[in-house]
């Protein structure tokens, strides 16, 4: 009987020892997998750009054996040389967990894996920063570097709250002198021949009976002034154009189109027959020039109801604009009476 127990014990030992060794090995592997092993790199690591150009730097992740769930990325750079325009996530990190911020010399964002069940386990781009080259570099390129931990932080499964980032490789940017893109002056050309919603088609055909066409770019809107408030729903529009020319006027927002002819002094006026709604509007006045091109000018204005002091949505009890005279008078009166109250007894 004792021999039976001995054999059973030996058998258990023979099975148990390899099993224990195997399980310990498994745990060791698991632990090794969870150890910090992630690398972040800015790519390309080196690049050259001309002043005024924009370019992207990708933030590549190599998670090693980690199962990455979250990365807080913060990079710094010389704001005299570089300006960060945007920062967003890359395809390897499909979620933006808090919105990216670009500021003087710094950009940061928090990105994440799709879900806990789909961590980042392979190499790829987790974020993209768009830069503008601002000033030529001298002998030393401009450096873009990751901020030190914990500001740059990579979180992963099976590692508790540890930062699994082990290496962060920055980038060197060489900026060459000269501007690649000339600054262009914006030009607004209103072409009043297209269809205006809902059904209105603007056809600024000159009045043939007058035979007059404009000879210079002299179309002007004198009233209402740009961005002014108008306190009537039927304002009178006034302007200048070459004498005898036909001026096409389109009043938005519900379009009203008319043509008027300037007088011998080049003045034109128009008062809408349909009252304008309260709120923002604009007027576009155009003429045909001698070369058969169109010249136009516009003015935006706001129709405000008398006494509402501003917008269509005067929700706030406090006025959003107005004069200060009443307040000054009140203060002056208050001070006079206060002074009287304090000083009179002393004088008397």
């Amino acid at each position: 009987m004792k021999k039976v127990f001995l054999f059973i014990a030996i058998g258990l030992l023979l099975i148990g020892i390899p099993a224990t060794i195997y399980l310990l090995g498994q745990q060791k592997d698991l632990r090794a997998k969870a150890a910090p092993a992630t690398t972040l790199s800015l790519t390309p690591a080196q690049s050259t750009h001309a002043v005024g150009t924009t370019f992207n730097l990708n933030i590549q992740i190599n998670p090693g054996s980690n199962q990455v769930r979250t990365a807080r990325i913060a990079v710094t750079f010389d704001p005299a040389k570089l300006k960060a325009m945007t920062i967003t996530n890359g395809p390897k990190a499909p979620r933006i967990l808090s919105s990216g911020v670009v500021e003087q010399g710094r950009a940061y964002i928090v990105v994440g894996a799709a879900s806990n069940a789909q961590p980042i386990t392979s190499n790829g781009t987790i974020a993209v920063i768009r830069f503008k080259a601002m000033e030529a570099t001298a002998a030393t390129p401009a450096a873009v570097v990751f901020e030190a931990a914990p500001k740059t932080f990579v979180g992963a499964s099976m590692e508790g709250g540890a930062n699994v980032l082990v290496t962060a490789n920055g980038a060197k940017i060489t900026i060459t002198g000269g501007s690649s893109t000339p600054t262009l002056t914006p030009t607004l050309t209103v072409t009043p021949t297209a269809t205006v919603t809902p059904t209105l088609t603007l056809t600024p055909t000159p009045d043939d009976t007058t035979g007059a066409t404009a000879t210079a770019s002299t179309i002007q809107i004198l009233s209402p002034a740009e961005n002014s408030d108008v306190t009537t729903t039927a304002p009178t529009f006034q302007g200048k154009a070459p004498p005898g020319s036909t001026v096409t006027i389109v009043v938005y927002s519900t379009p009203q189109t008319v043509t008027v002819t300037t007088d011998e002094n080049g003045n034109w006026t128009y008062t809408p027959t349909t009252p304008l709604e309260e709120g923002p509007h604009s007027i576009v006045a155009s003429i045909q020039t001698a070369s058969d091109s169109t010249e136009a000018t516009s003015s935006a204005f706001v129709v405000v109801a008398s006494g509402t002091g501003g917008g269509v949505a005067a929700d706030d009890a406090m006025p959003i604009s107005g004069n200060i005279e009443t307040t000054v008078i009140l203060i002056a009166l208050g001070l006079v009476f206060l002074a009287s109250g304090v000083l009179l007894p002393m004088i008397l």
């Binding site: 933006i96 499964s157 590692e159 269809t195 709120g279 929700d315 203060i331 008397l348």
Partner: protein
């Protein structure tokens, strides 16, 4: 003076002085306040918007704000009269609280506990009829199991609370019952508020204990579809509550809080804060975050009936358009009764007040036009904020003027391809116009008048 000295008693003069002080001091204070407000308002920065049309960024989500929370101002199926109006808002989720105290679900206790789902089923059916799924706030304690019969108290036996939660989940998520998948079960509603029990994240009346037994009940639920259990549904985002919950060892599928703040930037800051707190807890960084109620104030206000409220919602959505919560839940679809004074939180007035849609009702679908890939937009001001997108080569810019003064906003498009374009200018309140523009250079500027508390979408499409 001599005349006055001779004719007037000193006591009379003092009396007049005191009266003058009493009368004019408030006027002086009022005037000073007015000046302070005027100076403050004048000190903001006007917007000067620039949009880079050539640099598409991430695709934005236009679903997250299609979610609504109905409060319990009536112990009835409040959504029933407005189902079709709410369906038109394409809600993804609708939250309901007062589950147990307004719907007479639970009777008895211990082994004698019984459940009557009739009233609650009607309310949930109304939610489903809108096309939404329910978020059920497990609140408050059924009187039959609550200490002293008070619904904001702990139960006499925590196992009874666990059973209530288990039965609720089995009823609505159960494959052999209502068979709804994807329900969020939120433990309680505003537990930190005295009105709802003054629970704490620890101590004698601990929310964590309340949550733990809810999680025990959720764990017992059998044969159920996927569902989410979370909390703490506090009146604001509080670090101590969030950390207490995620460190409790209980199942936490989502985190939730309410935000009633005027400042739209606060909402974005909250997102940054919670992610910062959660970074050391990688198991929780990616779980859903829900703002299960939001508004510019938790108090009733006539401003909820005006464009102010709509502009606030738009300004908040703008702040959360990147890195926002899983759901931003507007409070609430319909007013309670007897609010003819216009102070209700609802998007729609109560049936005793005409079932009228208020301005905020229209803002959600309006913003949906912005679906697409985000474009870089800079130059937001103190009051006018916005974002830009591109979809099918059409560039769109949303601008909202929240609490500002009227601005004629310069909007500069950069990296344009010269040619003929159509610019559609569509105001939330106002006109919808199209005008042709000719772009002759890579940079092109238009000016957009924007009155206070209005929202506008510019739509720029190439015609040639």
């Amino acid at each position: 003076m001599a005349f006055l000295t001779q004719r007037t008693q000193p006591k009379t003069i003092s009396l007049i002085s005191v009266l003058a002080l009493i009368v004019f001091m408030p006027l002086l204070l009022l005037a000073v306040q007015n000046i302070a407000v005027l100076i403050t308002r004048a000190s903001g920065t006007p917007a000067n918007i620039s949009v880079d049309v050539a640099n598409a960024l991430e695709t934005i989500d236009t679903d997250f704000y299609h979610a609504f929370a109905q409060g319990g101002e009536e112990a009835t199926d409040m959504l029933a009269p407005v189902v079709s109006d709410i369906r038109a808002l394409r809600p993804r989720y609708i939250r309901l609280d007062h589950l147990y105290d307004h719907h007479d679900v639970v009777s008895g206790s211990g082994g004698g506990m019984s459940f009557n789902w009739g009233k609650l089923d009607a309310a949930v059916n109304s939610i489903l009829a809108t096309g939404a799924k329910p978020i059920l706030a497990l609140s408050y304690m059924p009187a039959s199991i609550a200490q002293g019969g008070t619904v904001i108290n702990p139960p006499n036996d925590w196992n009874d609370w666990a059973t209530v939660v288990q039965k609720t989940i089995e009823h609505y998520s159960g494959r052999s019952d209502k068979n709804i998948s994807g329900i969020y079960y939120e433990v309680w509603n505003e537990p930190d508020l005295a009105q709802f029990g003054s629970w704490k994240p620890g101590g004698a009346k601990s929310y964590v204990t309340l949550y733990h037994w809810a999680a025990v009940g959720a764990g017992r639920a059998n044969n159920v579809n996927t569902f989410y259990l979370g909390g703490p549904a506090t009146t604001g985002l509080y670090k101590t509550w969030i950390l207490a919950l995620i460190n409790s060892g209980n199942r936490v599928d989502f985190l939730s809080w309410h935000t009633y703040q005027v400042n739209p930037a606060k909402y974005d800051q909250d997102q940054k804060d919670i992610i910062t707190w959660l970074l050391p807890y990688p198991n929780f960084t990616l779980i859903p975050k829900l703002i299960t109620e939001f508004g510019f104030t938790g108090d009733k206000s006539t401003l909820y009936g005006t464009s102010y409220s709509a502009a606030h919602a738009a300004a908040v959505i703008r702040q959360l358009i990147v890195g926002g919560p899983t759901y931003l839940i507007s409070f609430q679809p319909i007013d309670g009764p007897n609010q003819q004074n216009g102070t209700g939180w609802g998007l729609i007035t109560h049936s005793d007040n005409g079932l009228r849609k208020k301005p905020r009702y229209y803002v959600y679908n309006f913003i949906d036009a912005m679906a697409g890939a985000r474009l870089d937009l800079t130059g937001e001001g103190t009051w006018v904020t916005g974002f830009a997108t591109i979809r099918d080569s059409v560039v769109r810019v949303l601008l909202v003027n929240f609490r500002g003064v009227t601005e004629n906003v310069p909007v500069t498009f950069t990296n344009m391809i010269p040619g003929s374009y159509t610019l559609r200018t569509r105001y939330l309140y106002g006109t919808d116009t199209k005008s042709p523009i000719s772009v002759t250079a890579p940079t092109h500027q238009v000016k957009v008048p924007l009155t206070p508390n209005n929202v506008v979408i510019l739509e720029l499409s190439k015609t040639q």
